[in-house]
Amino acid sequence: MNDLMLVRKNLFRKKLRAWLMIVSILVAFLIFGMLASFYRAFTAGEDAAAADRLVVVNKINFTQPLPIAYFNRVRAMEGVRQVAHLNWFGGYYQEPKNFLIVFAVEPQTYMDVYGNDLDIPADMRQAFLRERTGALVGEAMARKWGWKVGDRVPIASNIFSQKSGARTWDMTIVGIMKAKTPQMDTNFMAFQYGYFDETRSFGKDQIGWMVLQTTSPSVNDKVAKAIDASFANSPYETATDTEKAFNKAFVAQIGNIALIMTLVIGAAFVTILMIVGNTMALTIRERTREIGVLKTLGFSGQRILGMVLGESVLLAMLGGIPGLAIAAFIAFMLRENLANFIPGFAMTPGIAIAGIAMILALGLITGIIPALNAMRLRIAAALGRG
């Protein structure tokens, strides 16, 4: 009979009480795991942003267009390695509720700028350049709709219409884009700007925004200032920012999600700390006499301390680790369903490590006071009591 066995026996002496505490700890870490995954997905855009990428938008607001002429002017600027332009299409498939993230892009520059994030095989690249109605579809989107290379799909827009009055554009899937980094989400598609611009009924020769790579992150500031200065006082002034700052501001538009998450997780943990802490104190107090007996048998104070702390840590782990595992499982199951709203919803190793650290902390905090009391207990007092 070693100490570990004693710890386990002690913990499950009152089975119901132990299970109740395990369940409440499990729930707390389930909440933590889910919300942390959720929050990470929300801020994934920030992580996916490359340090040397800048975004150029209309200064009034990023939904306002820019003239296509700006594209060549920016391309020629010092410090700009390569630049692509994108246009929001407002796409949906068959029914407005099936909304799709669709961009109209110039193929070559688009594939250049996103070369480090997207894996597109050479033959698919060629096909995208060649095929006027060709479209590249992200892996996640292709999987969701069961599309494969060669399929012809009608994509509708809730913003644009064709000169013919039609609201859908026929596109041929010429390639599937895979993510090169885990932060990159692939629930989107891109099609040729040329095809889009020639057929749309309004907005000709306008682009949505530009994404560019600088020659080095150290010149970001200078390049951004130079771009904005060169278009100042024109009808289309620009605002240039790093991709990271742009994505961050966009997420902030939805609301103060970080604060909400912190409050909820905080509330869940305060609850658990109080319940488990109190119960641990209670169980140790009930065992005062036994601890006196152990000490009489020659157990040292440190050993008692270790046993009580071991019990509270074991309790925290028995609840916390399955809680994290269930959260990871649920996140995995929900991933497809939530792809449109919160892409990249998944539990990362970082979240799991933070969770395990919190489990240990919870075990130590709830156990430390009862453990110290038990360690300091004098035999005479312990045996005399109860």
Binding site: V27, I60, P235, T279
Partner: protein, 395 residues
């Protein structure tokens, strides 16, 4: 019967009086339940506030015309000749001068700085027609004046001013090369229009380089029932084929999704936390029964039944949970009620809304607390009622 009642009262009193002996354990149950109720009510108040803001914006007797399939104002465009056709449409109310009461509008998105995060946010700048303000309920200028027609002037909604910086009365704001002066602040009964900036339609069209472009048309109906006539007029004319709906229906659609998401997040979180709190409540109540084992057995030995022991424990649990529920509801009311926040709405622009608790929501919160108390008390109460007298006396 009377004696049973007296027994119940006696045991319940003992139960409640003994709470102070398990102060910390009982307190932790109360706090746990209070936190569960707070989380639930904060989410529900958020969803409710958002929904009220949008629901309060639409009227039944206003029709809104959007391009077919565009869903939101920002995506819509209405052609010039379509506007003329709408002017002649049946069912639209006319002013004393015989002109139809309609407002063609242009909806552009401009940047503002959100005060709480100091980041850029999408704000709607609406160019409204002559009748624009009268087609909305309860528009009142609270400071300054209405913009003059043809001038580079804007009026700003009260909600927008509160959440976003740079639009104070008298300030000049620049959108590209155009400069605008804020000449007035308006109220709109807390509706979504309070999150908007308004200016004269022709001025917005020319300064935003969109001559003669209109995105939506609002029209006052003779009465809500004339929407049907208007719809059939629209559907039967090949030149129209717009989406026509009542403004109330339009905003109800807009509110649906966001409200849904908030509620779908709030309830599962609260229920998961309730399980945690339930574990705490069960623990407390089992401890209560264990601590009073001798006492319960003694009462049984002198002739008390099992039922009073059951009721006493149940009531102790319910009282603790109810106190937690009420504290949670009160704290939510004090901290969150009336708190303003903003989020992206259906037209891709910020909607300012206030958290709003209602008696129905508070009742839902307290009910959840009582469910925790009920389940948390039930099993320990059964144990109390069934406790063998002899074993109890020797405990």
């Amino acid at each position: 019967m009377r004696s049973l009642l007296l027994q119940v009262i006696a045991v319940t009193t003992i139960n409640l009086k003994s709470i102070s002996q398990r102060l910390w354990l009982s307190l932790s149950t109360v706090v746990a339940v209070a936190l569960v109720v707070m989380v639930l009510l904060a989410f529900l108040a958020m969803a409710n506030g958002f929904q009220r803001t949008l629901a309060g914006s639409g009227s039944d007797d206003i029709a809104i015309f959007l391009r077919g399939g565009s869903q939101a104002e920002i995506n819509s465009t209405v052609a010039r000749d379509q506007v003329r056709l709408i002017e002649d449409a049946p069912g639209i109310a006319r002013g004393p001068d015989g002109k139809p009461l309609i407002s063609p509008e242009l909806y552009v998105v401009v940047d503002g700085i959100k005060r709480s995060s100091l980041t850029k946010a999408n704000l709607p700048l609406r160019g409204i027609g002559e009748q624009g303000a009268t087609l909305r309920k309860g528009i009142a200028i609270t400071e300054g004046r209405m913009f003059n027609r043809g001038a580079n002037e804007v009026v700003v909604g009260k909600g927008l001013l509160k959440e976003f910086a740079g639009f104070e009365l008298g300030k000049t704001v620049a959108f590209a090369t155009s400069r605008w002066t804020v000449v007035g602040i308006f109220e709109a009964e807390g509706s979504v229009f309070e999150s908007e900036i308004w200016a004269d339609l022709p001025v917005v069209q020319s300064l935003f380089n969109r001559p003669n472009v209109v995105q939506t048309v609002r029209a006052r109906l003779e009465n809500p029932a004339s929407l049907a006539a208007l719809k059939s007029y629209n559907d039967n004319d090949a030149r129209m084929k717009l989406d026509v709906k009542s403004e109330a229906a339009y905003f109800a659609d807009q509110a649906g999704q966001t409200t849904d998401v908030i509620q779908k997040l709030g309830w599962p979180l609260a229920i998961a936390m309730a399980f945690g709190a339930l574990a705490g409540a069960l623990n407390t109540m089992y401890s209560s029964v264990a601590a009073r084992a001798v006492e319960i057995a003694t009462l049984r030995a002198i002739g008390f039944g099992g039922f009073p022991a059951f009721v006493g424990t149940m009531i102790e649990s319910l009282v603790l949970a109810a106190i937690g529920g009420v504290i949670g509801a009160a704290a939510t009311y004090l901290i969150f009620d009336g708190l303003t926040a903003s989020t992206l709405g259906g037209s891709f622009t910020q909607v300012v809304f206030a958290f709003k608790l209602s008696p129905a929501l508070i009742w839902q919160g307290v009910l959840l607390a009582l469910v925790v108390g009920l389940i948390g008390g039930l099993f320990p109460a059964i144990r109390a009622a069934r406790m063998p007298i002899v074993a109890g006396l020797y405990a």
